[in-house]
Each structure stands twice: as structure tokens, then as C-alpha cells.
């Protein structure tokens, strides 16, 4: 049986299919970070004075902070002065008024990625905002959404057209000084998506943002803000890719969600940033702060994430359950292959009464991948009858990977009920052989076993995304059993 370990090992190697580079002329700020760079970003975007001050305030906070060291990941220190904080395709000055004004090369890029931006080609029912390096290049179905009163546009446009909304909610869930990366993002964020769902409106289609890092030596710092007013509903999808480059690139995003009374936000991510090569060269550092607040009674926020890319993932989409009877959910699949590292999980902060939260986390480790679940369930003093259920499963493929679980539970109210279940299992040669002896190929058997493991999470994804996620998992595991 000496050969088995090697075979499993051989199964772990993959082809990253979104790794091409698009040749567009871009307007890129010189590397380095100081107040002048922040002023430059702000003026490029023609921002109001209050926002510049907000950015500068964040920058000063950032200077006082240190990068977190508690995560179960290892990397060389990041030289923040070597990164360029702004890069935009040159052709657009004031932003394209319609898709006809968008550089055809950019449209081509998104088509290669399987995200057609031309509305006639789009899956009916999904509006897309495409963010290329630092700027949003196109937002589709805007008019149709406007009919329903839904605002869906790039963050920069929201600053111009809806400054009162941006000012009211920006930083209200993730304060500028929340953590090192959030402070950095607040100082230099470039673009992202903004969604506003008015009272009582059920958003007529899925909203999605597609993020793409293209330029070399740049960071991507997008900012997303979603506000769901009383009784509204929105389902939002997010996808990400980047070219294959030998150096590491930083992605430090902030996502804020606000759900008012009876509102519901469903946020799904399929993250496929370039993970680096087999030896761990290159890849994206994905250091992201995502948090939603269930501000009103009976509100609900649900995070679903499928994380297959990035060299390092540091990400904890969380829910602050302020409103009574509000509900937070977190469904996650995180895959680490080759030399990838992930430290991901969630925080569920129970503040209101009768608040409920569910955490289902599935970690898959292959190759030399290291996968950590880190989660906090906090029940504050006033959170009577809070309930949490956490299930945390790890799957190991091959002998060189690792799975780690760091669950934190803080309960200050005696009526709370908190459950935690955890399992660790291995895709064994026995399971693979069993399937093969029934006629199923090795690759199909592995996919079947891994998909079976992830099923509880995949069923939370919107249909098209679930299919994409399954395929992505298949691609990411290509060669993971040989």
C-alpha cells in the first residue's frame, strides 16, 4: 500500500483557468502609501471633502495599528510601500455611460471569464457590476432595477449620486479602526458596489459583482455596502479572479451589510483569486473584513462562501444580531490545495433577544494546504434565549495537509443555547477504491466525495452559482488524486 500516498499526492495539482492578463493601458499611481496618495485617490474620484477626511482619519488609525498575528497563516511581512494603491484602465475618464463606451478588451476579459456584460447575453435575472482593478467598468440592468427603486451601482457613483446614503451607512458596521486591514481599506478603497433596496421591495433579480485584479504590483481594495430597508429582500453574489503572477498581490476588501426590520440579505461569494503555483509562488493575499448587522427586528443575514482561490485567505464574514428575533447564518466551503493557507470562519454576536445563528463550515485540505476554521459565538448579557448551532467539518485529502479548528464561545446570558459539533475525516484510498471498483473513475470519485461533503453548503447557493461552485471545486482538485 506504499504507493497510495503518492497517488493521492499526484492527484493534487491544478490548472488555474482565469490566469490570463489583459493588455490595457492603465492609469496607475506610483507605489507607496502616504497622505498624498490618499488625496490623489480621492481627487481622481472627485470625492466630497468629508470622505477625504474620513479616509485620512482611517489612514492615521492604520499607522497606529499592527497587522494581526493570531491567524494560523504564515507569510513574509508585506511591504505596504511597494504596492500601488490605484490602477484604472485609461480609456475611461468619467466612466462609460453605456456598455458601448466600455473598452472592448475589458468586455472580452469578462467574456473569457464566462461573465458576459452585454445585457442580451446575460442570464436573465442577474445584474452584474464588474470591477476591474480599482474601478467599476460596467453595471448592467440598471434601468430595470431603478424601476423597482433599487439602487445598484459602483461605489464611486454612489458617492456622487447618493452621498447622503453613503455618508449615513459607510463605516457604520465596520468602523474605520476595526482592524488593521479594514483601516487600510478605509484609507485607500478604490471602488466596489453599492446596493440600496427601499422599504418593502423584493429585489427583482440577483445582484452580482465580479471583481478582477489585472494590473501588476497593485492591490485591490474594494468597498461594498448593501442596505436593505424595512421588509426588503436582496440576494447578492460576488465572484473574483486574478491573473497568474509570481509575486503576491494584496486584496483587502470591506463589505458592510445593513438589514433593517424584517429585511433579508443573502450574500454569496465564490472566491477564485489566483492561488499561487504548486510551490507557493505568487497568489493573492485575501485579507477581507465582511460584516453584516441585523439592525431591525426579525431581520436576517445569510453569508454563503465558497473559497477555492487565494494564496492566503483571512476572512470572517460575521453577523451582529442587534434586532430582536434576528437571524444570522454562515455557510462556508474553504478549499486549500498545494501551498494555500486559509484562516476563515465567522463571528455571530447575539445582542437582541431571541436571536438565532447557524454556522456550517466545511474545510477541505489537499496537497500541503492548511485550513483553519476560526469562529466566535458571543451571547451578550441582554440576549435572552439566544440560540446557536455550529457544525464544523474538515476533510483531508492526502498525508501532507492540515486542518485546524479554533471555536470561541462567550456566553453572558444563562438562557442561551449554544451547540457545537465538529468532525474531521479523510478521503481514504479505501473510499476511492470502493467507487472505482464500481466503475467510477478516480477523479469522479474524488469529486463525488468532496461534493457530498459540501452539499449542505452548496444547497444554500443560488442555482447558477451552485453549478459554478461544483465545477470550480472539480478544477481546483484536478490532479489531487492521480
Amino acid at each position: 500500500m506504499a504507493t497510495s500516498a503518492n497517488d493521492v499526492e499526484a492527484l493534487i495539482s491544478k490548472g488555474y483557468k482565469a490566469g490570463f492578463i489583459t493588455e490595457v493601458e492603465s492609469d496607475t499611481a506610483p507605489p507607496g502609501l502616504n497622505e498624498d496618495v490618499i488625496r490623489l485617490i480621492s481627487s481622481k474620484k472627485n470625492e466630497p471633502e468629508w470622505l477625504l477626511e474620513w479616509r485620512l482619519g482611517a489612514f492615521r488609525q492604520w499607522l497606529k495599528k499592527e497587522a494581526p498575528r493570531w491567524a494560523h497563516v504564515r507569510h513574509q511581512p508585506i511591504d505596504y510601500q511597494a504596492i500601488s494603491y490605484y490602477s484604472a484602465p485609461k480609456s475611461r475618464k468619467d466612466g462609460p455611460k453605456s456598455l458601448d463606451e466600455v473598452d472592448p478588451k475589458l468586455l472580452e476579459t469578462y467574456e473569457k471569464l464566462g461573465i458576459p456584460l452585454r445585457e442580451r447575453e446575460i442570464l436573465a435575472g442577474v445584474a452584474v457590476d464588474a470591477v476591474f482593478d480599482s474601478v467599476s467598468v460596467a453595471t448592467t440592468f440598471r434601468e430595470k432595477l431603478a424601476e423597482a427603486g433599487v439602487i445598484f451601482c459602483s461605489f464611486s457613483e454612489a458617492v456622487q449620486n447618493h452621498p447622503e446614503l453613503v455618508r449615513k451607512y459607510l463605516g457604520s458596521v465596520v468602523p474605520v479602526a476595526d482592524n488593521f486591514y479594514a483601516a487600510l481599506n478605509s484609507a485607500v478603497f478604490s471602488d466596489g458596489s453599492f446596493c440600496y433596496i427601499p422599504k418593502g421591495v423584493r429585489c427583482p433579480m440577483e445582484l452580482s459583482t465580479y471583481f478582477r485584479i489585472n494590473a501588476a504590483k497593485t492591490g485591490q481594495f474594494e468597498r461594498t455596502l448593501i442596505v436593505a430597508e424595512e421588509g426588503s429582500y436582496v440576494s447578492y453574489l460576488e465572484g473574483c479572479t486574478a491573473p497568474m503572477r509570481d509575486e503576491n498581490q494584496l486584496h483587502a476588501a470591506v463589505v458592510e451589510l445593513v438589514a433593517m426590520k424584517d429585511a433579508r440579505i443573502k450574500y454569496s461569494t465564490v472566491q477564485n483569486w489566483y492561488p499561487g503555483d504548486e510551490e507557493g509562488r505568487g497568489g493573492i493575499y485575501n485579507f477581507v473584513t465582511k460584516r453584516g448587522e441585523c439592525r431591525g427586528e426579525n431581520s436576517q443575514i445569510s453569508w454563503t462562501q465558497v473559497e477555492t482561490g487565494s494564496a492566503i485567505t483571512w476572512k470572517y464574514p460575521s453577523c451582529v444580531l442587534t434586532g430582536d428575533n434576528s437571524t444570522g447564518e454562515f455557510y462556508s466551503v474553504a478549499l486549500t490545495n498545494n501551498c494555500q493557507q486559509a484562516d476563515t470562519g465567522t463571528k455571530m454576536i447575539h445582542i437582541g433577544r431571541n436571536t438565532r445563528s447557524t454556522i456550517i463550515s466545511k474545510g477541505i485540505s489537499a496537497g500541503r494546504g492548511q485550513n483553519a476554521y476560526r469562529g466566535l459565538v458571543k451571547v451578550t448579557k441582554g440576549a435572552d434565549n439566544a440560540r446557536n448551532y455550529t457544525q464544523c467539518d474538515s476533510l483531508l485529502i492526502g498525508p501532507k495537509c492540515g486542518a485546524h479548528t479554533f471555536p470561541y464561545i462567550e456566553v453572558k446570558n444563562p438562557t442561551a443555547r449554544v451547540e457545537h459539533e465538529a468532525t474531521t475525516s479523510k478521503v481514504s484510498e479505501d473510499q476511492l477504491f470502493y467507487c472505482r471498483s464500481r466503475g467510477i473513475s478516480r477523479e469522479d470519485a474524488l469529486n463525488m466525495i468532496v461534493n457530498g461533503f459540501c452539499r449542505e453548503v452548496f444547497k444554500e447557493l443560488p442555482m447558477e452559482f451552485a453549478v459554478e461552485a461544483q465545477k470550480l471545486l472539480g478544477v481546483s482538485l484536478e490532479g489531487a488524486v492521480g
Binding site: S4, F433, R436, S437, R438, I440, D444, M448
Partner: protein, 251 residues
């Protein structure tokens, strides 16, 4: 017609020789029982036939329907009609029993150039086959073997055999861990799968299985070789005299 021809088979596990010159001919429609004491190489034979890794064939040949079986991967063997009912069926959490079996059947049908079955047709088929082993439909929708009792796992193996319709079925200690009622159900299922174009090779330590599935031939495996072959009555002799007298003869 000869379906399976094993000639002078030598096989080793981690450098240790287990099979030492085993030969066996199996014709379509026949049921063979391979008996032998613990450590005689019975399970090794089953694993070598199904293509399990870690078993090194050092000498000899296995020809299945004119093809060199040893040159084929486990999945190719399965698609060509070789089926192994495991002694210890594996649990696969999260993978639905029906889903896996449908994937298996369709892989085999693709190989045969037959159209794949859709979910509706497959469900109809599997419900019909489940009756053969008196398997409750509940088990169909559960994860593969997860939380199954020993008897349920063995029934599930025979259900898979019934669905995949192999040409050659290898039953590795199918009676182990079964109480008498479960044994009867499993044996009854196997008996209904006996056909003139299918061969069955049963590997067993005890002759009690042979009371329920009556073989055409009985072989005694000792020291890595077949030391004696006979009819049904050889099993009865073994039950009375044990294996020791044959081991001595083999030595």
C-alpha cells in the same frame, strides 16, 4: 466458454509472498467457492482480481474474457463486468447511496455504448432491485453505507451487484458478520442473480454459506495455492475434518 482463467498466479503484499502459484478456470454460469483457513490468501485473491493497489503480481496471468485483466485499472475491470462484493464495505459520508450507484451504472453503460439512465428511470430500477434483497427504501436515500449495520452493508453490496449486473461477481466473505436471517436474505438475493451467462466466485471461511448458495465447485486454498478441488461434498468434508489435514498435504 472460459470466462476467467488464472494461471500460476504469484502475488505479494509489502514484499511478502501470499499467493504462490494459484490456478483456476471459471466458466460462464458456474458458481465456485474458494475456502481456506485464515491467512491462506483468500482476500488477497479477491483484491488482486479487482485491481486493488498494493498487491504486487510477481508471476502468472489472469485472463478475463480474452483480456489481460492485470493490465486494466479497477474502474476498467468494473466497466467490463467484474464486481467485488466487499468484506468490509466502505462508508462515504454525504454521498447519497442512489447517487453513487447511478453514477456507477451510467459509467458502465457509457462504456458499453448504451444510453445513460435518467433519475426517474434509475429510481424505478433501483426500487425493483431493492426488493430482491428486501432492502427498505429508506436506505436508498442515505449516505453510502453510513450508519448501516453489518447486515445492511452486505445487503447493499448485493443490491449494487443486482443493479450493475456484472459478468463475474466476486463475493468476499459475504457471510461474515451476518446472523442467520440476514444470511438467508443475502443468499436468496445472490441465488436470484445466478444466470447462465454470469459466473460467481464466493470466498468464505465457513461452509454454512454454501448451504444457502450451493456451488458447482469447491476449492481449498492453502499456502497460497489451490490444494484440492471438488464438488459440494468437499465442503462437507472440510466442515467435519477442518483444514489441517490439507495444510499438511500442501506442505
Amino acid at each position: 466458454m472460459t470466462m476467467l482463467s488464472i494461471r500460476n498466479l504469484h502475488a505479494a503484499v509489502e514484499g511478502k509472498a501470499i499467493l504462490k502459484g494459484l490456478s483456476l478456470e471459471v466458466m460462464a454460469g458456474e458458481v465456485h467457492a474458494i475456502m481456506g483457513p485464515n491467512g491462506s490468501g483468500k482476500s488477497t485473491l479477491a483484491h488482486v482480481l479487482s485491481g486493488r493497489e498494493g498487491y504486487e503480481v510477481t508471476e502468472g496471468s489472469i485472463v478475463f474474457e480474452g483480456k489481460d485483466l492485470l493490465a486494466m485499472s479497477p474502474e476498467e475491470r468494473a466497466r467490463d463486468g467484474v464486481f467485488l462484493a466487499f468484506q468490509y464495505p466502505v462508508e462515504i459520508p454525504g454521498v447519497n447511496n442512489v447517487y453513487m450507484l447511478k453514477a456507477a451504472l451510467n459509467a458502465i453503460r457509457r462504456h458499453r455504448g448504451e444510453p445513460e439512465l435518467d433519475a426517474v428511470d434509475f429510481l424505478r430500477l433501483i426500487k425493483e432491485k431493492a426488493m430482491l434483497v428486501q432492502m427498505d427504501e429508506r436506505f436508498l436515500s442515505r449516505a453510502v453505507n453510513e450508519g448501516f449495520s453489518g447486515g445492511e452493508k452486505k445487503r447493499n453490496e448485493i443490491l449494487q451487484m443486482a443493479v450493475l449486473e456484472p459478468k463475474l461477481a466476486l463475493l468476499d466473505e459475504t457471510d461474515s458478520g451476518l446472523d442467520i436471517d440476514a444470511l438467508r436474505v443475502v443468499a436468496n438475493g445472490v441465488n436470484q442473480l445466478r444466470r447462465s451467462d454470469r459466473a460467481i466466485v464466493m470466498i468464505t471461511h465457513y461452509q454454512r454459506l454454501l448451504e444457502h448458495i450451493v456451488p458447482d465447485f469447491v476449492h481449498v486454498l492453502a499456502g497460497g495455492r489451490i490444494v484440492r478441488s471438488g464438488g459440494r461434498d468437499l465442503a462437507v468434508t472440510l466442515e467435519e475434518r477442518g483444514y489441517d489435514w490439507l495444510k499438511e498435504e500442501a506442505a
